[in-house]
């Protein structure tokens, strides 16, 4: 069971869109819904989640603080461009 967090400004719109899409893609790539938990959160709560999450999907560009977690780019899942490559990276992390 891996916990993935996606953070945005409110944990409502952008992060949740990204989370729903990513969950869908993970399932389509043979990862069972029982193997992961994906949560959209408010970015201000990241310090709390840093300790419990396994993977961080960031939708923020430059200027963000680095967290002590394997971090991936969530923007491609929203724009649709480059989503496949980023998904492969996340899948790789999953199989570790």
């Amino acid at each position: 069971m891996k916990t993935i967090v996606v953070a945005c400004g409110g944990g409502v719109a952008t992060s949740q869109t990204c989370a729903v899409k990513l969950a869908d893609l993970l399932e389509k790539n043979g990862i069972s819904p029982s193997e992961f938990r994906i949560e959209a959160i408010n970015i201000n709560s990241m310090p709390q989640y840093e300790k419990v999450a396994d993977i961080y999907v960031s939708i923020c560009g430059e200027g963000e603080k680095e967290f002590d977690l394997p971090t991936f780019n969530g923007v491609p899942f929203i724009t649709g461009m480059g989503a496949e490559e980023e998904l492969q990276k996340i899948l790789e992390e999953f199989r570790k």
Binding site: A7, C8, G9, G10, G11, V12, A13, T14, S15, Q16, T17, V20, K21, A40, N42, I43, N44, S45, P47, Q48, S58, I59, C60, G61, E62, G63, E64, K65, V75, I78, T79, G80, M81
Partner: protein
């Protein structure tokens, strides 16, 4: 036609929590989803609406009651309780014409891309709710939904234009190429640009502070449960509660602020299939063309400047709320004034000093606009049953996106002389804004080493 009308009215009369799941399920099936998945998405929207209703009741029962005690005890007339953006936009979806805004926004976007007016493909479907909000407010003030939709269309057009005129600015701030920012709140630049431009002249960019360091220390105050607890305790103390009641209220207020986004994200879960379908449809239409993808603002949310400024602004908001004559809003759900501070960040490129000056000027305007619209949001909650409002109390939304513009349009339509004067002044201001922001954007493009045509 009559039969259609009857069937439609019959569906609407079922109430938003039954009617909207049916709409979403049908849209899902039309977009080619499996019926079971479409039904699941539809039902999620119903769950979101009922859930929001419950969290709103939790807020009005606990914080609302304390707010009334606060008014009685202190004599400060803050009778409209601020719910913040998550429930407010959720409430907008309960308006009976809300879902027509999807085809309207997508249609306008496709049309303007086709004629080359814009290069922005807006995939941010959450903020369709923001156009619904404009349409509802105007429809309510004018009594005519068509005028409401007309204003929403104007908003769509200007959002896209603004996205075009600021895309290199966004790239400089985020490092991400190929995206742009059609969020309506950035149109506030029409009014704030002259100020920030003036500040650019007198304050050198080197006068800034390291926001990250300070945020690491006080960031905890930006977490919803902590913020809610503190504010709840304050309202309780000034409401004359004893210590047990104060602490209980604090926890309840923290609960409301934590649950708002949790419930609001269900709206997004339900809308994602619709947004996927719409995005795919639009992308296919403009395959191969050089377009920028319009996104919601959180691509900039990693920067600390916003959050630090929003946290620092909270005590100032309360001072203003209590002492400004004519303000009736008790800030609660919208304590983080995103729609003022993020546009200021955008205009000043994250200079804290300039943002602070802009914030001090903008906060009172946001409070007055929230006071003005409080009866409208209260009415929306009452007619759609989206939330129950106790007698003698109102619901408000502090920090409405483009507060200034929305007030100008609404008040001008009510023949308010000041608003009409400002409306006339807005036209040259808008021309000046778009010209200047575009010129600055070209400079950013040059800095980034991007060749542009114009």
């Amino acid at each position: 036609m009559d039969i259609l009308q009857t069937v439609f009215q019959g569906l609407v009369d079922l109430g938003a929590s039954v009617f909207l799941p049916i709409v979403i399920t049908l849209i899902g099936i039309i977009l080619g989803m499996k019926p079971t998945k479409a039904f699941s998405a539809g039902l999620t929207l119903g769950v979101a609406l009922v859930g929001m209703n419950h969290v709103m009741s939790l807020m009005t029962d606990s914080v609302g009651a304390a707010a009334q005690a606060f008014v009685q005890n202190t004599g400060v007339q803050l009778k409209a309780l601020d719910m913040g953006w998550a429930p407010a936009l959720g409430l907008c979806w309960t308006w009976e014409y809300a879902f027509l805004m999807f085809p309207v926004q997508i249609g306008i976007n496709i049309l303007l891309l086709a004629v080359g007016f814009t290069n922005c493909l807006n995939v941010d479907m959450w903020n369709v709710g923001n156009k619904v909000c404009t349409a509802f407010l105007v429809a309510y003030v004018s009594g005519n939904p068509a005028i409401g939709f007309a204003c929403a269309i104007i908003q769509c057009v200007f959002e896209l234009k603004n996205a075009d005129c600021t895309k290199y600015r966004l790239q400089k701030l985020t490092g991400i190429p190929g995206i742009s920012m059609p969020h309506p709140m950035f149109l506030a630049g029409i009014y704030y640009y002259p100020l920030t431009h003036f500040l650019d002249k007198i304050i050198p960019d080197s006068m800034n502070i390291d926001a990250q360091k300070i945020r690491d220390k006080i960031g905890i105050f930006g977490e919803n449960h902590i913020m809610g607890f503190i504010v709840g305790c304050f309202i309780g103390i000034f409401g004359g509660y004893d210590y047990k009641e104060v602490l209980t209220l604090g926890v309840q207020a923290g609960t409301a602020l934590t649950l708002f986004p949790m419930v609001a994200k269900l709206f997004m879960t339900a809308l994602t299939p619709v947004s996927n379908g719409a995005t795919e449809f639009m992308k296919k239409k403009f395959h191969g063309r050089d377009i920028s993808i319009g996104m919601d603002w959180p691509v900039m949310a990693g920067r600390s400047e916003h959050w630090l400024m929003m946290i620092l602004a909270i005590p100032v908001i309360f001072i203003y709320a209590i002492f400004l004559p004519g303000n009736i809003v008790l800030p609660f759900g919208g304590l983080m004034d995103i729609c003022l501070i993020v546009p200021l960040f955008y205009l000043t490129m994250g200079n804290m000093l300039k943002m602070a000056i802009g914030t001090l000027i903008g906060l009172p305007l946001h409070l007055y606009v929230a006071s003005y619209f409080a009866p409208h949001f209260t009415k929306l909650a009452q007619i759609t049953g989206g939330a129950s409002v106790p007698k003698g109390q109102m619901l408000a939304w502090f920090g409405i996106d483009i507060s200034e513009l929305r007030w100008v349009f609404a008040a001008a339509s009510e023949k308010n002389i000041i608003a009409i004067v400002i409306l006339v002044v807005t036209i040259p201001l808008a021309v000046y804004y778009f010209k200047s922001i575009k010129r600055e954007d070209m400079e950013f493009a040059k800095e980034l080493g991007i060749k542009t045509e114009a």
